[in-house]
């Protein structure tokens, strides 16, 4: 019972702190947006794509998307590795 009370207080303190912190951030009016305005202004001329988000994902920050495709490839290999057929005696019984 004590543990639950302790965790509950931690969560409540966290709630208060996070709400106070988030209250600082302006919503609806980003204070600085020069990089994004550049993308909106020049996105079409430089990449030729109407969808500015896609032009950022694949052209301006295309390297992130290569990393992202690698993450997905890692996950597929990881899942495949977990369901592979193991050879006899391959596993080491932890003594």
């Amino acid at each position: 019972m004590m543990k639950i009370a302790l965790y509950a207080t931690i969560l409540l303190v966290l709630f208060g702190g996070l709400t106070y912190i988030v209250a600082d951030l302006p919503f609806g009016a980003p204070p600085v947006s020069d990089m994004d305005d550049y993308f909106i202004r020049n996105g079409q001329e430089q990449t030729g794509a109407n969808n500015i988000v896609t032009s950022i994902v694949f052209d301006f920050r295309g390297f992130d998307t290569l990393g992202e495709a690698t993450v997905l490839f890692t996950a597929v290999l990881g899942v495949g590795m977990m369901f592979r057929k193991m050879k006899e005696g391959e596993e080491y019984e932890n003594d």
Binding site: G48, N51, G62, L66
Partner: protein, 156 residues
């Protein structure tokens, strides 16, 4: 765990449309909201639909994992070579050298709202297609592996 005849036939009918819509989302990635990842996920749900409708063993007979692995490798290679092709044209890695050259996917686009022309955005449609294929293959493999538990329950 096979569904009734009705469900299976409607799933078979609906499956091609699911793929076509996913391909639409991938191809029009640079014009309308969407792109490689979202379109690939839509196509992968088509495979999920088949797995739910048919018995797991029937589905794995038709959609084999090795074919999907090759599909995934093709998508990744398309992405990597599109990036490396930038180097051949004196642009650094991932350089979009096909845009605004007037040739394939090259018509320039002026700033401001326009109805959208498919033949634009240089390398982006190829990258979109590559990622779409990779996500389709990848997610379907994950689905097949994680749903392999279905056939185990059937035995006891």
């Amino acid at each position: 765990m096979k569904m009734t005849k009705i469900v299976r036939t409607t799933a078979d009918v609906f499956y091609p449309f699911c793929l076509v819509f996913g391909l639409y989302v991938v191809i029009h990635g640079h014009l309308t909201p969407g792109g490689g990842f979202q379109g690939g996920a839509v196509m992968a749900t088509g495979a999920a639909l088949l797995i739910v409708a048919h018995a797991y063993t029937d589905v794995t007979r038709r959609i084999r994992k090795t074919a999907l692995k090759i599909l995934e490798a093709i998508g990744l290679m398309m992405f990597l070579f599109a990036g490396l092709s930038g180097i051949l044209f004196e642009r650094p890695f991932m350089g979009n050298w096909m845009a605004l050259t007037g040739k394939l996917f090259g018509t320039p686009v002026a700033h401001g709202p326009n109805p959208g022309d498919l033949n634009t955005a240089g390398l982006l449609p190829l990258l979109n297609l590559g990622v779409g294929i990779e996500v389709l293959g990848g997610l379907t493999i994950i689905l097949l592996y994680m749903l392999s538990g279905i056939k185990e329950e059937k035995q006891p």
